[in-house]
């Protein structure tokens, strides 16, 4: 799992999706309820119209006579009702408050009846829910008007079945709506977050050296973030440039006067015949070299410490790098008739590392070897792969025929400003090997000094590949 370098406060995507899904679920539920209600009321209205027509049809068939009312219940009225399935139908006809035919206990309307426009109500009757329609009309019985109420009830199982079917459809509709809306909200979350992802990718893909501002167009909501990021990049790049400029300027400002001093000393050396003066001028020139070397190593060391935190990794061919550095030492070594025995592999050895760090390490190793070699000495420089299949370690070994270590421990010599016990007459700051060790540690490698068989010192720098 990828390690996070900050506390995570959850995912915007998850939050967005969750909120959209809740919203969609609520909307689907509302849709379901509305459809169900509208469908239910539409069915009820239709049923009521049939029930009402049947009731009115019965009422219209009433005939007043001399001594009573003739009721001829029309077949059509029931066939209308019967069309709706297995419902049971009840009726009750009341003349002037007396039930003359039908179910005597079929409930009456609570509100006043409105003539031939039916009044509808729902009651529980014979342990079933019954929808009832009631109408009234006046009928002449022996020249005397009589008030006749016609009440027709019908159980609701067919209506309920239709409503249930409607509800199922509404539920299916709600679920379908939910499914489509959920997919759409996933896509929305994705497209809303796409600019964030693009920005992350654009910034994440950059190499550590790439300190240009982010110029990709972003939505206005991300603009403050990008502005802040760009300001930060500008500050970082400024700091890096200042550090590198400072190191270059410092080197220039210290080394130029040293060069003048050394040149003047050489002029005097050249013009003085007296052996004692010449010896003291040489000592002076050695001190100048000493200072110059120390300045170089202090700046190297500063760069190494700084670069260890700000590593700029790249693919480096160690064989070519070693060859280049040895070539750079050539003339200085040549001046003392010192030769290099190179044993480098033919194929490149590529490792991912910070070029400046590796260069500092190898340069300091060679500088040491040249410095401590006698006139006409030879220095062997070997580079080899170690470990199974050459996949493990690369090992750089620099051996001189100098004065050796005289028993001083390797770990002591690699300490800052530490020097061997036998080197008082050779210029040095004691930082060279510290730099090598720090570079080795920064790359997960190891550095060690050993006595060479037959006299001299071997410096052994091993670095893991990859």
């Amino acid at each position: 799992m990828k390690r996070l370098w900050f506390a995570s406060s959850g995912s915007i995507r998850q939050r967005l999706i969750l909120q959209l899904l809740v919203l969609v679920a609520v909307l689907s539920w509302v849709l379901y309820l509305s459809v169900k209600t509208v469908a239910g009321s539409a069915v009820e209205t239709t049923q009521d119209a049939i029930l009402g027509s049947a009731t009115i049809a019965i009422a219209e068939e009433l005939r007043g006579g001399e001594d009573g009312v003739a009721v001829d219940i029309p077949y059509t009225a029931f066939s209308m009702l019967g069309a709706t399935g297995e419902d049971r139908v009840f009726y009750r006809i009341i003349i002037d408050g007396v039930t003359v035919t039908g179910y005597e206990d079929l409930p009456l309307a609570e509100e006043p009846l409105g003539g031939l426009s039916p009044v509808f109500y729902t009651r529980s009757y014979q342990s079933e829910t019954v929808r009832i329609a009631a109408v009234e009309r006046s009928v002449l019985v022996g020249n005397k008007p009589a008030r006749v109420e016609v009440i027709v009830g019908q159980t609701r199982s067919a209506q309920d079945a239709i409503v249930a079917q409607m509800a199922n459809r509404a539920a299916a509709l709600g679920l379908g709506f939910f499914a489509i809306a959920a997919v759409l909200s996933l896509l929305t979350a994705r497209s809303v977050l796409q600019p964030v992802r693009n920005l992350t990718e654009a910034v994440g893909r950059r190499g550590p050296q790439d300190l240009r501002p982010v110029e990709r167009p972003v939505p206005s909501e991300l603009a403050p973030l990008v502005t802040a990021l760009n300001q930060f990049i500008a500050r970082l790049s400024g700091a890096l440039t200042r550090t590198e400029t400072f190191i270059a300027e410092a080197a220039h400002h210290i080394r130029t006067p040293l060069a003048t001093l050394r040149a003047q000393a050489e002029i005097t050396l050249r013009q003085s015949p007296d052996e004692a003066t010449r010896a003291s001028l040489r000592a002076m020139i050695r001190s100048v070299d000493d200072s110059a070397r120390s300045v170089g190593q202090l700046l190297d060391h500063a760069a190494v410490v700084y670069r260890t935190d700000q590593r700029t990794e790249e693919e480096i061919d160690l064989v070519a790098l070693t060859r280049d550095i040895v070539a750079a030492f050539g003339p200085a070594a040549d001046l003392r008739d010192i030769g290099f025995d190179l044993s480098l592999p033919d194929a490149p050895i590529v490792m991912t590392a910070d070029r400046l760090l590796l260069e500092s390490a190898i340069r300091n190793l060679l500088d040491n070897a040249v410095k401590y070699s006698a006139l006409e000495g030879r220095i062997s420089v070997g580079l080899a792969l170690e470990g199974e299949g050459g996949a493990g370690l690369v090992r750089l070994k620099v051996c001189d025929r100098g004065r050796g270590l005289s028993g001083t421990r390797s770990s002591t010599l690699t300490g800052r400003f530490r020097r061997g016990s036998n080197v008082a007459d050779v210029v040095g700051s004691g930082l060279g090997l510290t730099i090598v060790r720090e570079v080795a540690i920064a790359h997960g490698g190891d550095f060690r000094l050993t006595e060479r068989d037959g006299g001299g010192t071997c410096a052994d720098l091993s670095l893991p590949l990859g």
Binding site: A259, R262, A263, Q264, R282, A328, P331
Partner: protein
């Protein structure tokens, strides 16, 4: 030899000028890139010594322009920085060599000679003296078909002596040109190299003569 020194620090420039003139070289000084252009337009030089940080620009840009203009005067860059990548970049830009300040004049001379030898090419670099042929590129002396190889310091000693046959060079003068000034050597250290060189010259009419109390000179019998 004739050098053009491009360096903005007057103290350093004067010192380098003086020191090189002691070895018999002529040095013109340019304090800026514009100045250097003027000098180059006016006369020819064997070699340009170029500083990088100059008041009117970067020495590397001057170097690149110099090479683009197909001018082939060799250039040795003097810089305060010692990173190898700087060196590789400079050589890629067209510098012939690179020397870090503060520098040793013996080392500078060695580098200058090396650059000039490389530039000259095998045919033109062959020199003859008396009955010997000297090839500085391969560092060999051939006497009557018999080749002898010279080591670095023997080669440089022979080059110095050969630059002025019959001229007397003092021990101190030779030590100053052969050894780094930081080397703790006495003037007598030169005797070893004179001895070795005499051995290599055996069988030739050319020989190194000791002028008692003064120094050495190369003569032909």
């Amino acid at each position: 030899m004739r050098f053009l020194l491009v360096e903005d620090n007057p103290d350093l420039a004067r010192s380098v000028q003086t020191r090189l003139s002691l070895d018999g070289h002529a040095v013109d000084w340019a304090a800026s890139l514009a100045d250097a252009e003027d000098h180059l337009a006016a006369s020819g030089y064997d070699l340009i010594l170029l500083d990088i940080m100059l008041p009117d620009g970067d020495g590397r840009d001057f170097l690149a322009a110099h090479r683009r203009a197909k001018r082939d005067t060799p250039v040795i860059v003097m810089t305060a920085r010692s990173a190898v990548s700087d060196r590789v970049a400079l050589l890629d830009t067209g510098a012939d060599d690179y020397i870090t300040k503060p520098f040793d004049f013996a080392e500078l001379e060695a580098r200058v000679r090396a650059v000039l030898r490389r530039r000259m090419g095998a045919a033109q670099s062959l020199q003859t003296y008396a009955d010997l042929t000297f090839d500085p590129l391969s560092a060999t002396i051939t006497i009557a078909g018999d080749s002898r190889e010279l080591r670095s310091r023997e080669l440089r000693l022979f080059e110095i002596l050969l630059s002025g046959p019959d001229r007397i060079f003092s021990k101190a003068q030779l030590v100053d040109r052969l050894f780094s000034a930081a080397e703790a050597v006495s003037d007598n250290a030169i005797e070893v190299y004179v001895g070795r060189l005499r051995k290599k010259l055996e069988g030739s009419r050319a020989r190194i003569e000791t002028v008692r109390g003064v120094g050495y000179r190369l003569t032909a019998q």
